[in-house]
Protein backbone atom coordinates (compact mmCIF):
# COMPACT_ATOMS: atom_id res chain seq x y z
CA UNK A 1 0.00 0.00 0.00
CA UNK A 2 1.23 3.49 -0.80
CA UNK A 3 1.69 5.38 2.49
CA UNK A 4 -0.97 8.02 2.87
CA UNK A 5 1.34 10.98 2.98
CA UNK A 6 -0.01 14.51 3.07
CA UNK A 7 -1.48 15.30 -0.34
CA UNK A 8 1.24 17.42 -1.81
CA UNK A 9 0.64 18.51 -5.38
CA UNK A 10 2.82 16.92 -8.03
CA UNK A 11 5.88 18.91 -9.01
CA UNK A 12 4.69 18.74 -12.57
CA UNK A 13 7.77 20.08 -14.38
CA UNK A 14 9.96 17.63 -12.52
CA UNK A 15 7.64 14.68 -13.17
CA UNK A 16 7.51 15.43 -16.87
CA UNK A 17 11.29 15.64 -17.07
CA UNK A 18 11.45 12.13 -15.60
CA UNK A 19 10.00 10.71 -18.84
CA UNK A 20 12.53 11.05 -21.68
CA UNK A 21 10.18 9.68 -24.37
CA UNK A 22 7.85 12.64 -23.90
CA UNK A 23 10.56 15.00 -25.10
CA UNK A 24 10.14 14.47 -28.84
CA UNK A 25 8.27 15.76 -31.86
CA UNK A 26 5.75 13.80 -33.90
CA UNK A 27 4.93 15.14 -37.39
CA UNK A 28 6.78 18.31 -36.43
CA UNK A 29 4.66 18.89 -33.31
CA UNK A 30 5.57 18.30 -29.67
CA UNK A 31 4.32 14.86 -28.64
CA UNK A 32 1.15 14.95 -26.55
CA UNK A 33 0.75 11.47 -25.11
CA UNK A 34 -2.83 10.67 -24.13
CA UNK A 35 -2.75 6.89 -24.47
CA UNK A 36 -1.52 5.80 -21.04
CA UNK A 37 -4.41 3.35 -20.62
CA UNK A 38 -2.84 1.37 -23.48
CA UNK A 39 0.63 1.71 -22.02
CA UNK A 40 2.39 4.38 -20.01
CA UNK A 41 5.73 5.98 -20.84
CA UNK A 42 8.60 4.96 -18.57
CA UNK A 43 10.49 7.17 -16.13
CA UNK A 44 14.30 7.28 -16.15
CA UNK A 45 14.35 5.40 -12.83
CA UNK A 46 12.80 2.36 -14.54
CA UNK A 47 15.09 2.55 -17.55
CA UNK A 48 18.12 2.78 -15.27
CA UNK A 49 17.03 -0.13 -13.09
CA UNK A 50 16.72 -2.37 -16.15
CA UNK A 51 19.97 -1.05 -17.61
CA UNK A 52 21.83 -1.63 -14.33
CA UNK A 53 20.61 -5.19 -14.13
CA UNK A 54 21.83 -6.01 -17.62
CA UNK A 55 25.11 -4.13 -17.20
CA UNK A 56 26.05 -5.40 -13.74
CA UNK A 57 23.90 -8.14 -12.26
CA UNK A 58 22.79 -10.21 -15.22
CA UNK A 59 22.58 -13.86 -14.19
CA UNK A 60 19.88 -16.43 -13.74
CA UNK A 61 17.96 -16.58 -10.47
CA UNK A 62 17.47 -19.28 -7.83
CA UNK A 63 20.49 -21.30 -8.97
CA UNK A 64 24.21 -20.91 -9.01
CA UNK A 65 26.28 -19.89 -6.05
CA UNK A 66 28.19 -17.25 -7.90
CA UNK A 67 27.95 -13.61 -6.96
CA UNK A 68 26.01 -12.35 -9.95
CA UNK A 69 23.39 -15.06 -9.56
CA UNK A 70 23.00 -14.13 -5.93
CA UNK A 71 22.63 -10.45 -6.82
CA UNK A 72 20.05 -11.27 -9.48
CA UNK A 73 18.12 -13.49 -7.06
CA UNK A 74 18.11 -10.85 -4.36
CA UNK A 75 16.97 -8.19 -6.83
CA UNK A 76 14.22 -10.44 -8.24
CA UNK A 77 12.89 -11.47 -4.83
CA UNK A 78 13.14 -7.86 -3.59
CA UNK A 79 10.95 -6.90 -6.51
CA UNK A 80 8.38 -9.41 -5.26
CA UNK A 81 8.50 -7.74 -1.84
CA UNK A 82 8.05 -4.35 -3.50
CA UNK A 83 4.91 -5.58 -5.27
CA UNK A 84 3.63 -7.08 -2.02
CA UNK A 85 4.17 -3.74 -0.24
CA UNK A 86 2.52 -1.77 -3.02
CA UNK A 87 -0.58 -3.97 -2.99
CA UNK A 88 -0.74 -4.08 0.80
CA UNK A 89 -0.47 -7.89 0.86
CA UNK A 90 0.64 -9.64 4.04
CA UNK A 91 3.05 -12.13 2.53
CA UNK A 92 5.45 -11.98 -0.44
CA UNK A 93 4.53 -15.58 -1.18
CA UNK A 94 1.13 -14.27 -2.27
CA UNK A 95 2.73 -12.49 -5.26
CA UNK A 96 3.21 -14.48 -8.49
CA UNK A 97 5.06 -12.78 -11.33
CA UNK A 98 3.33 -13.18 -14.69
CA UNK A 99 3.66 -11.68 -18.16
CA UNK A 100 0.84 -9.33 -17.31
CA UNK A 101 -2.83 -9.16 -16.40
CA UNK A 102 -3.84 -11.54 -19.19
CA UNK A 103 -1.54 -14.31 -18.03
CA UNK A 104 -2.54 -13.75 -14.40
CA UNK A 105 -6.23 -14.22 -15.27
CA UNK A 106 -5.45 -17.28 -17.38
CA UNK A 107 -3.50 -18.70 -14.45
CA UNK A 108 -6.46 -18.32 -12.09
CA UNK A 109 -8.82 -19.79 -14.71
CA UNK A 110 -6.58 -22.81 -15.29
CA UNK A 111 -5.35 -23.58 -11.78
CA UNK A 112 -8.02 -22.27 -9.42
CA UNK A 113 -11.32 -22.35 -11.28
CA UNK A 114 -10.91 -25.31 -13.65
CA UNK A 115 -10.78 -27.95 -10.86
CA UNK A 116 -13.94 -26.57 -9.25
CA UNK A 117 -15.97 -25.82 -12.38
CA UNK A 118 -18.42 -28.52 -13.42
CA UNK A 119 -21.06 -28.76 -16.13
CA UNK A 120 -23.81 -26.24 -15.48
CA UNK A 121 -21.67 -24.17 -13.09
CA UNK A 122 -21.26 -20.46 -13.70
CA UNK A 123 -18.58 -17.81 -14.05
CA UNK A 124 -19.83 -14.26 -13.48
CA UNK A 125 -18.21 -11.23 -15.12
CA UNK A 126 -19.46 -7.74 -16.00
CA UNK A 127 -20.48 -6.21 -19.31
CA UNK A 128 -17.57 -3.77 -19.20
CA UNK A 129 -14.74 -6.31 -19.09
CA UNK A 130 -11.65 -6.15 -21.28
CA UNK A 131 -11.33 -9.14 -23.62
CA UNK A 132 -8.64 -10.47 -21.27
CA UNK A 133 -11.29 -10.95 -18.58
CA UNK A 134 -13.79 -12.49 -21.00
CA UNK A 135 -11.98 -14.89 -23.30
CA UNK A 136 -10.13 -17.01 -20.68
CA UNK A 137 -13.51 -17.67 -19.01
CA UNK A 138 -15.18 -18.43 -22.33
CA UNK A 139 -12.50 -20.99 -23.14
CA UNK A 140 -12.82 -22.58 -19.72
CA UNK A 141 -16.64 -22.62 -19.74
CA UNK A 142 -16.65 -24.23 -23.19
CA UNK A 143 -14.27 -26.92 -21.94
CA UNK A 144 -16.24 -27.66 -18.78
CA UNK A 145 -19.77 -27.23 -20.09
CA UNK A 146 -20.20 -24.28 -17.75
CA UNK A 147 -21.98 -20.98 -18.40
CA UNK A 148 -20.60 -17.46 -18.56
CA UNK A 149 -22.99 -14.95 -16.99
CA UNK A 150 -22.72 -11.20 -17.45
CA UNK A 151 -23.70 -8.43 -15.04
CA UNK A 152 -25.37 -5.70 -17.14
CA UNK A 153 -24.36 -2.04 -16.95
CA UNK A 154 -26.63 0.99 -17.11
CA UNK A 155 -26.49 3.87 -19.60
CA UNK A 156 -23.96 5.76 -17.51
CA UNK A 157 -21.60 2.82 -17.44
CA UNK A 158 -22.13 1.62 -13.88
CA UNK A 159 -22.76 -2.04 -13.06
CA UNK A 160 -26.36 -2.63 -11.99
CA UNK A 161 -25.82 -3.92 -8.46
CA UNK A 162 -29.32 -5.37 -8.08
CA UNK A 163 -28.68 -7.48 -11.18
CA UNK A 164 -25.32 -8.49 -9.77
CA UNK A 165 -26.94 -9.80 -6.60
CA UNK A 166 -29.57 -11.61 -8.64
CA UNK A 167 -26.94 -13.26 -10.83
CA UNK A 168 -24.86 -14.56 -7.92
CA UNK A 169 -26.18 -18.10 -7.72
CA UNK A 170 -25.44 -21.41 -6.07
CA UNK A 171 -23.68 -22.36 -9.28
CA UNK A 172 -21.36 -19.30 -9.38
CA UNK A 173 -17.79 -20.52 -8.92
CA UNK A 174 -16.01 -17.18 -9.37
CA UNK A 175 -16.69 -13.50 -10.02
CA UNK A 176 -14.24 -11.74 -12.34
CA UNK A 177 -14.63 -7.97 -12.26
CA UNK A 178 -12.57 -5.02 -13.39
CA UNK A 179 -11.83 -2.34 -10.81
CA UNK A 180 -11.48 0.43 -13.40
CA UNK A 181 -12.91 0.05 -16.92
CA UNK A 182 -10.36 0.69 -19.68
CA UNK A 183 -13.05 1.68 -22.17
CA UNK A 184 -15.34 3.81 -19.99
CA UNK A 185 -13.19 4.86 -17.06
CA UNK A 186 -15.80 3.54 -14.62
CA UNK A 187 -14.49 2.81 -11.12
CA UNK A 188 -16.51 -0.13 -9.82
CA UNK A 189 -17.56 -0.43 -6.16
CA UNK A 190 -15.47 -3.56 -5.85
CA UNK A 191 -15.18 -3.58 -2.07
CA UNK A 192 -18.96 -3.79 -1.83
CA UNK A 193 -19.13 -6.33 -4.66
CA UNK A 194 -16.49 -8.53 -3.04
CA UNK A 195 -18.34 -8.46 0.28
CA UNK A 196 -21.58 -9.45 -1.45
CA UNK A 197 -19.93 -12.38 -3.22
CA UNK A 198 -18.17 -13.50 -0.05
CA UNK A 199 -21.44 -13.47 1.89
CA UNK A 200 -22.42 -16.32 -0.44
CA UNK A 201 -19.03 -18.01 -0.29
CA UNK A 202 -18.01 -17.02 -3.83
CA UNK A 203 -14.40 -15.97 -4.53
CA UNK A 204 -13.59 -12.82 -6.53
CA UNK A 205 -10.84 -11.99 -9.00
CA UNK A 206 -10.21 -8.27 -9.54
CA UNK A 207 -8.74 -7.07 -12.83
CA UNK A 208 -6.53 -4.27 -11.52
CA UNK A 209 -4.81 -3.36 -14.80
CA UNK A 210 -6.31 0.15 -14.94
CA UNK A 211 -6.56 0.60 -11.17
CA UNK A 212 -2.97 0.13 -10.02
CA UNK A 213 -1.66 3.14 -12.01
CA UNK A 214 -4.32 5.46 -10.61
CA UNK A 215 -5.55 4.32 -7.20
CA UNK A 216 -4.15 3.26 -3.85
CA UNK A 217 -4.47 -0.51 -3.53
CA UNK A 218 -4.89 -2.53 -0.35
CA UNK A 219 -5.76 -6.14 -1.09
CA UNK A 220 -6.25 -6.98 2.59
CA UNK A 221 -8.78 -4.21 3.03
CA UNK A 222 -10.51 -5.16 -0.24
CA UNK A 223 -10.42 -8.82 0.81
CA UNK A 224 -10.23 -9.86 -2.86
CA UNK A 225 -9.20 -13.45 -3.51
CA UNK A 226 -7.09 -12.51 -6.53
CA UNK A 227 -5.91 -9.28 -8.09
CA UNK A 228 -4.16 -9.15 -11.48
CA UNK A 229 -2.25 -6.24 -12.94
CA UNK A 230 0.30 -5.31 -15.62
CA UNK A 231 3.56 -3.49 -15.09
CA UNK A 232 3.51 -1.55 -18.35
CA UNK A 233 0.31 0.34 -17.54
CA UNK A 234 1.89 1.49 -14.27
CA UNK A 235 5.10 3.03 -15.66
CA UNK A 236 6.94 -0.30 -15.68
CA UNK A 237 8.20 -2.39 -18.60
CA UNK A 238 6.09 -4.59 -20.88
CA UNK A 239 6.04 -8.35 -20.39
CA UNK A 240 5.82 -8.26 -16.60
CA UNK A 241 2.85 -8.19 -14.28
CA UNK A 242 1.73 -9.92 -11.15
CA UNK A 243 -1.05 -11.94 -9.62
CA UNK A 244 -1.90 -11.44 -5.99
CA UNK A 245 -3.62 -14.53 -4.60
CA UNK A 246 -4.61 -15.37 -1.05
CA UNK A 247 -2.08 -17.78 0.36
CA UNK A 248 -4.71 -20.42 1.15
CA UNK A 249 -5.88 -20.43 -2.48
CA UNK A 250 -2.38 -20.56 -3.97
CA UNK A 251 -1.46 -23.48 -1.73
CA UNK A 252 -4.28 -25.62 -3.06
CA UNK A 253 -3.72 -24.75 -6.72
CA UNK A 254 -1.92 -27.14 -9.10
CA UNK A 255 0.86 -25.75 -11.32
CA UNK A 256 -0.09 -23.59 -14.30
CA UNK A 257 2.84 -24.47 -16.55
CA UNK A 258 5.55 -27.07 -16.09
CA UNK A 259 9.25 -26.53 -16.44
CA UNK A 260 12.37 -25.45 -14.66
CA UNK A 261 12.36 -23.39 -11.46
CA UNK A 262 8.90 -24.54 -10.38
CA UNK A 263 10.06 -27.93 -9.04
CA UNK A 264 11.74 -29.32 -5.95
CA UNK A 265 12.77 -32.60 -7.52
CA UNK A 266 12.16 -34.33 -10.82
CA UNK A 267 12.38 -37.97 -11.80
CA UNK A 268 10.58 -39.73 -14.62
CA UNK A 269 8.31 -41.32 -12.05
CA UNK A 270 7.42 -38.30 -9.99
CA UNK A 271 7.98 -34.57 -9.76
CA UNK A 272 7.61 -32.61 -6.55
CA UNK A 273 6.55 -29.03 -7.11
CA UNK A 274 7.76 -25.93 -5.36
CA UNK A 275 5.56 -24.08 -2.93
CA UNK A 276 3.77 -20.96 -4.20
CA UNK A 277 4.68 -18.56 -5.66
CA UNK A 278 7.53 -20.37 -7.45
CA UNK A 279 5.21 -23.25 -8.33
CA UNK A 280 3.56 -20.86 -10.81
CA UNK A 281 6.73 -19.41 -12.31
CA UNK A 282 8.01 -22.10 -14.65
CA UNK A 283 11.16 -21.30 -16.60
CA UNK A 284 13.55 -18.40 -16.26
CA UNK A 285 11.36 -15.47 -15.27
CA UNK A 286 11.41 -11.93 -16.63
CA UNK A 287 14.05 -10.85 -14.12
CA UNK A 288 14.77 -7.45 -15.64
CA UNK A 289 11.05 -6.87 -15.99
CA UNK A 290 10.41 -7.57 -12.31
CA UNK A 291 13.25 -5.22 -11.35
CA UNK A 292 11.86 -2.54 -13.67
CA UNK A 293 8.38 -3.03 -12.21
CA UNK A 294 9.70 -2.59 -8.67
CA UNK A 295 11.39 0.66 -9.77
CA UNK A 296 8.11 1.84 -11.30
CA UNK A 297 6.09 1.13 -8.16
CA UNK A 298 8.76 2.86 -6.09
CA UNK A 299 8.54 5.86 -8.43
CA UNK A 300 4.73 5.99 -8.03
CA UNK A 301 5.06 5.72 -4.24
CA UNK A 302 7.55 8.58 -4.30
CA UNK A 303 4.95 10.78 -5.96
CA UNK A 304 2.33 9.75 -3.42
CA UNK A 305 -0.94 7.98 -4.21
CA UNK A 306 -3.06 10.91 -3.12
CA UNK A 307 -1.11 13.41 -5.20
CA UNK A 308 -1.35 11.14 -8.26
CA UNK A 309 -5.08 10.53 -7.81
CA UNK A 310 -5.73 14.24 -7.21
CA UNK A 311 -3.74 15.33 -10.28
CA UNK A 312 -5.45 12.81 -12.53
CA UNK A 313 -8.91 13.56 -11.16
CA UNK A 314 -8.47 17.22 -12.01
CA UNK A 315 -7.21 16.36 -15.50
CA UNK A 316 -10.15 14.03 -16.14
CA UNK A 317 -12.68 16.63 -14.95
CA UNK A 318 -11.10 19.35 -17.07
CA UNK A 319 -10.85 17.10 -20.15
CA UNK A 320 -14.48 16.00 -19.76
CA UNK A 321 -15.66 19.60 -19.53
CA UNK A 322 -13.58 20.85 -22.46
CA UNK A 323 -14.24 17.95 -24.81
CA UNK A 324 -17.98 18.29 -24.20
CA UNK A 325 -17.71 21.95 -25.29
CA UNK A 326 -16.68 20.76 -28.77
CA UNK A 327 -19.84 20.75 -30.93
CA UNK A 328 -21.11 17.22 -31.58
CA UNK A 329 -19.08 15.59 -28.80
CA UNK A 330 -20.78 12.85 -26.82
CA UNK A 331 -19.32 11.04 -23.84
CA UNK A 332 -19.39 7.22 -23.85
CA UNK A 333 -19.57 6.37 -20.19
CA UNK A 334 -20.44 8.91 -17.53
CA UNK A 335 -20.25 6.74 -14.43
CA UNK A 336 -20.54 8.31 -10.98
CA UNK A 337 -16.90 7.58 -10.28
CA UNK A 338 -14.35 7.52 -13.10
CA UNK A 339 -10.58 7.36 -13.33
CA UNK A 340 -7.89 7.56 -15.94
CA UNK A 341 -9.74 7.66 -19.22
CA UNK A 342 -12.30 9.61 -21.21
CA UNK A 343 -14.17 7.87 -24.04
CA UNK A 344 -16.13 9.92 -26.54
CA UNK A 345 -17.40 10.23 -30.11
CA UNK A 346 -17.92 13.23 -32.39
CA UNK A 347 -21.04 13.43 -34.58
CA UNK A 348 -20.31 12.58 -38.20
CA UNK A 349 -16.61 11.84 -37.76
CA UNK A 350 -15.45 8.29 -37.22
CA UNK A 351 -13.00 7.78 -34.31
CA UNK A 352 -10.42 6.38 -36.71
CA UNK A 353 -10.42 9.57 -38.73
CA UNK A 354 -10.15 11.59 -35.53
CA UNK A 355 -7.21 9.43 -34.45
CA UNK A 356 -5.36 10.08 -37.71
CA UNK A 357 -6.04 13.83 -37.58
CA UNK A 358 -4.95 14.09 -33.94
CA UNK A 359 -1.79 12.15 -34.74
CA UNK A 360 -0.96 14.66 -37.45
CA UNK A 361 -1.07 17.27 -34.67
CA UNK A 362 1.22 15.21 -32.46
CA UNK A 363 -1.60 14.04 -30.19
CA UNK A 364 -1.62 10.30 -29.42
CA UNK A 365 -5.02 8.84 -28.47
CA UNK A 366 -6.57 5.44 -28.90
CA UNK A 367 -9.30 5.12 -31.51
CA UNK A 368 -11.08 1.81 -31.66
CA UNK A 369 -12.95 -0.71 -29.55
CA UNK A 370 -10.31 -0.81 -26.77
CA UNK A 371 -10.41 -4.62 -26.62
CA UNK A 372 -13.91 -4.28 -25.18
CA UNK A 373 -16.23 -4.98 -28.10
CA UNK A 374 -19.21 -5.91 -25.89
CA UNK A 375 -18.98 -2.44 -24.30
CA UNK A 376 -19.04 -0.80 -27.74
CA UNK A 377 -22.10 -2.88 -28.66
CA UNK A 378 -23.82 -1.84 -25.44
CA UNK A 379 -23.52 1.81 -26.51
CA UNK A 380 -24.34 1.16 -30.16
CA UNK A 381 -20.98 2.38 -31.46
CA UNK A 382 -18.26 0.45 -33.25
CA UNK A 383 -15.47 2.52 -31.79
CA UNK A 384 -14.70 5.53 -29.61
CA UNK A 385 -11.88 7.99 -29.15
CA UNK A 386 -10.20 7.43 -25.81
CA UNK A 387 -7.97 10.01 -24.18
CA UNK A 388 -6.25 8.59 -21.12
CA UNK A 389 -4.04 10.25 -18.58
CA UNK A 390 -0.89 9.69 -16.61
CA UNK A 391 1.09 11.57 -14.01
CA UNK A 392 2.93 13.47 -16.76
CA UNK A 393 -0.11 15.03 -18.44
CA UNK A 394 -1.18 18.63 -18.00
CA UNK A 395 -3.84 21.14 -19.01
CA UNK A 396 -1.68 21.96 -22.04
CA UNK A 397 -2.17 18.40 -23.28
CA UNK A 398 -5.94 18.74 -22.94
CA UNK A 399 -5.83 22.00 -24.90
CA UNK A 400 -3.85 20.29 -27.67
CA UNK A 401 -6.48 17.54 -27.74
CA UNK A 402 -9.32 20.04 -28.01
CA UNK A 403 -7.48 22.01 -30.73
CA UNK A 404 -7.07 18.74 -32.64
CA UNK A 405 -10.79 18.01 -32.34
CA UNK A 406 -11.55 21.41 -33.84
CA UNK A 407 -9.14 20.63 -36.69
CA UNK A 408 -11.01 17.38 -37.27
CA UNK A 409 -14.28 19.29 -37.50
CA UNK A 410 -12.66 21.70 -39.94
CA UNK A 411 -11.33 18.89 -42.17
CA UNK A 412 -14.79 17.36 -42.23
CA UNK A 413 -16.73 20.62 -42.58
Amino acid sequence: MIPATAATALDFARVRADFPALDQEVHGRPLVYLDSAATTQKPTAVLEAIDNFYRRDCANVHRGVHTLSQRATVAYESARTAVKEHLGARDSREIVFTRGTTEAINLVAASFVRPRLGAGDEVLISAMEHHSNIVPWQLLCAERGANLRVIPIDDRGDVILEEYERLLSERTRIVGITWVSNALGTVNPIREMIATAHSRGIPVLVDGAQAVPHLAVDVVELDCDFLAFSGHKAYGPTGIGALYGKRAHLLEMPPYQGGGDMILSVSFERTVYQEPPHRFEAGTPNIAGAIGLAAALSYLEGLGAEAVADHERRLLDEATRKVLEVPGARLIGSARHRAGALSFVLDGIHPHDIGTILDAEGVAVRAGHHCAQPVMKRYGVSATVRASFGVYNSSDDIEALVRGLHTAREVFS
Partner: protein, 154 residues
Protein backbone atom coordinates in the same frame (compact mmCIF):
# COMPACT_ATOMS: atom_id res chain seq x y z
CA UNK B 1 -3.48 20.69 -42.40
CA UNK B 2 -2.25 20.43 -46.01
CA UNK B 3 -1.02 16.89 -45.39
CA UNK B 4 -4.42 16.04 -43.96
CA UNK B 5 -6.02 17.49 -47.10
CA UNK B 6 -3.95 15.04 -49.18
CA UNK B 7 -5.59 12.25 -47.22
CA UNK B 8 -9.05 13.71 -46.82
CA UNK B 9 -9.60 15.03 -50.33
CA UNK B 10 -12.93 16.60 -51.21
CA UNK B 11 -13.94 13.61 -53.33
CA UNK B 12 -13.41 11.33 -50.32
CA UNK B 13 -15.35 13.61 -47.99
CA UNK B 14 -18.14 13.85 -50.56
CA UNK B 15 -18.45 10.07 -50.91
CA UNK B 16 -18.27 9.72 -47.13
CA UNK B 17 -21.15 12.13 -46.68
CA UNK B 18 -23.20 10.87 -49.62
CA UNK B 19 -22.17 7.30 -50.36
CA UNK B 20 -23.26 6.09 -53.81
CA UNK B 21 -24.96 2.73 -54.36
CA UNK B 22 -25.64 2.40 -50.67
CA UNK B 23 -28.71 0.18 -50.46
CA UNK B 24 -29.82 -3.39 -49.88
CA UNK B 25 -30.15 -5.19 -53.21
CA UNK B 26 -33.02 -7.65 -53.05
CA UNK B 27 -32.17 -9.34 -56.36
CA UNK B 28 -28.46 -9.85 -55.63
CA UNK B 29 -26.91 -12.99 -57.10
CA UNK B 30 -23.90 -12.76 -54.78
CA UNK B 31 -23.21 -11.11 -51.41
CA UNK B 32 -20.33 -11.08 -48.96
CA UNK B 33 -19.65 -9.58 -45.55
CA UNK B 34 -16.43 -7.82 -44.68
CA UNK B 35 -15.06 -6.95 -41.29
CA UNK B 36 -11.97 -5.23 -39.97
CA UNK B 37 -11.61 -6.69 -36.46
CA UNK B 38 -8.97 -4.13 -35.54
CA UNK B 39 -11.33 -1.17 -35.77
CA UNK B 40 -14.81 -2.68 -36.09
CA UNK B 41 -15.54 -1.48 -39.63
CA UNK B 42 -18.13 -3.64 -41.36
CA UNK B 43 -19.39 -3.73 -44.94
CA UNK B 44 -21.76 -5.92 -46.92
CA UNK B 45 -21.41 -6.00 -50.69
CA UNK B 46 -24.29 -7.01 -53.01
CA UNK B 47 -23.72 -8.05 -56.61
CA UNK B 48 -25.88 -8.89 -59.58
CA UNK B 49 -23.70 -10.64 -62.09
CA UNK B 50 -24.80 -11.62 -65.54
CA UNK B 51 -22.61 -13.25 -68.19
CA UNK B 52 -19.47 -12.63 -66.17
CA UNK B 53 -20.20 -8.91 -65.91
CA UNK B 54 -21.16 -6.86 -62.82
CA UNK B 55 -24.53 -5.48 -63.83
CA UNK B 56 -25.33 -3.97 -60.45
CA UNK B 57 -23.40 -3.47 -57.21
CA UNK B 58 -24.41 -1.95 -53.88
CA UNK B 59 -23.32 -1.98 -50.26
CA UNK B 60 -24.31 -1.38 -46.65
CA UNK B 61 -22.00 -0.84 -43.74
CA UNK B 62 -20.43 1.38 -41.20
CA UNK B 63 -16.89 2.62 -41.07
CA UNK B 64 -14.56 5.57 -41.16
CA UNK B 65 -14.47 8.13 -43.94
CA UNK B 66 -11.73 6.30 -45.82
CA UNK B 67 -13.60 2.99 -45.63
CA UNK B 68 -16.99 4.41 -46.63
CA UNK B 69 -15.63 6.54 -49.46
CA UNK B 70 -13.53 3.67 -50.75
CA UNK B 71 -16.55 1.38 -50.83
CA UNK B 72 -18.67 4.00 -52.53
CA UNK B 73 -16.05 4.78 -55.19
CA UNK B 74 -15.40 1.08 -55.71
CA UNK B 75 -19.03 0.45 -56.59
CA UNK B 76 -18.87 3.23 -59.19
CA UNK B 77 -15.60 1.94 -60.61
CA UNK B 78 -16.54 -1.69 -61.12
CA UNK B 79 -20.12 -1.35 -62.27
CA UNK B 80 -20.32 -2.74 -65.79
CA UNK B 81 -16.89 -4.33 -65.63
CA UNK B 82 -16.18 -8.02 -66.12
CA UNK B 83 -15.02 -10.13 -63.21
CA UNK B 84 -11.54 -10.35 -64.75
CA UNK B 85 -11.32 -6.57 -65.19
CA UNK B 86 -12.44 -6.06 -61.61
CA UNK B 87 -9.79 -8.41 -60.25
CA UNK B 88 -7.15 -6.58 -62.27
CA UNK B 89 -8.39 -3.21 -60.98
CA UNK B 90 -8.19 -4.39 -57.36
CA UNK B 91 -4.61 -5.51 -57.94
CA UNK B 92 -3.65 -2.13 -59.39
CA UNK B 93 -5.44 -0.28 -56.58
CA UNK B 94 -3.76 -2.43 -53.94
CA UNK B 95 -0.35 -1.87 -55.54
CA UNK B 96 -0.87 1.89 -55.46
CA UNK B 97 -1.76 1.82 -51.74
CA UNK B 98 1.16 -0.36 -50.78
CA UNK B 99 3.65 1.56 -52.90
CA UNK B 100 4.33 -1.30 -55.31
CA UNK B 101 5.14 -0.03 -58.78
CA UNK B 102 2.52 -1.56 -61.01
CA UNK B 103 3.96 -2.98 -64.22
CA UNK B 104 0.82 -3.15 -66.26
CA UNK B 105 -1.56 -1.27 -64.05
CA UNK B 106 -4.91 -0.06 -65.22
CA UNK B 107 -6.05 3.52 -65.21
CA UNK B 108 -7.40 4.00 -61.70
CA UNK B 109 -9.32 7.14 -62.58
CA UNK B 110 -11.16 8.54 -59.58
CA UNK B 111 -9.61 5.91 -57.34
CA UNK B 112 -6.39 7.93 -57.48
CA UNK B 113 -7.85 10.11 -54.68
CA UNK B 114 -6.72 7.36 -52.31
CA UNK B 115 -3.08 7.82 -53.23
CA UNK B 116 -2.56 9.81 -50.01
CA UNK B 117 -3.51 6.77 -47.92
CA UNK B 118 -0.12 5.29 -48.80
CA UNK B 119 1.43 7.73 -46.32
CA UNK B 120 -0.75 6.24 -43.55
CA UNK B 121 0.05 2.51 -43.47
CA UNK B 122 -2.42 1.77 -40.66
CA UNK B 123 -5.21 3.17 -42.82
CA UNK B 124 -4.52 1.02 -45.90
CA UNK B 125 -6.87 -1.65 -44.53
CA UNK B 126 -9.63 0.96 -44.27
CA UNK B 127 -9.31 1.58 -48.02
CA UNK B 128 -9.11 -2.09 -49.02
CA UNK B 129 -11.81 -3.68 -46.83
CA UNK B 130 -14.48 -3.12 -49.50
CA UNK B 131 -12.29 -4.64 -52.20
CA UNK B 132 -11.50 -7.72 -50.13
CA UNK B 133 -15.23 -8.10 -49.55
CA UNK B 134 -15.98 -7.67 -53.25
CA UNK B 135 -13.40 -10.34 -54.02
CA UNK B 136 -15.03 -12.70 -51.51
CA UNK B 137 -18.37 -12.12 -53.22
CA UNK B 138 -16.85 -12.77 -56.64
CA UNK B 139 -15.13 -15.93 -55.40
CA UNK B 140 -18.47 -16.89 -53.86
CA UNK B 141 -16.51 -18.49 -51.05
CA UNK B 142 -19.36 -18.03 -48.60
CA UNK B 143 -16.94 -17.06 -45.87
CA UNK B 144 -16.81 -13.46 -44.70
CA UNK B 145 -13.88 -11.30 -45.78
CA UNK B 146 -11.63 -9.97 -43.08
CA UNK B 147 -8.61 -7.76 -43.08
CA UNK B 148 -7.12 -10.30 -40.66
CA UNK B 149 -7.06 -14.07 -40.93
CA UNK B 150 -9.23 -15.74 -38.33
CA UNK B 151 -9.88 -19.06 -36.66
CA UNK B 152 -12.99 -20.45 -35.04
CA UNK B 153 -14.52 -18.84 -31.98
CA UNK B 154 -14.66 -20.31 -28.52
Amino acid sequence: MSELRDLYQQVILDHHRKPRNCYVMSCATRTADGHNPLCGDTVKVYLRISDGRIEEISFQGSGCAICTASTSLMTESVKGKTVAETTQLFRTFHDMLTGVAAEQGLDLGKLMVFEGVREYPVRVKCATLAWHTLKAALDNSGSPASTESSSSTA
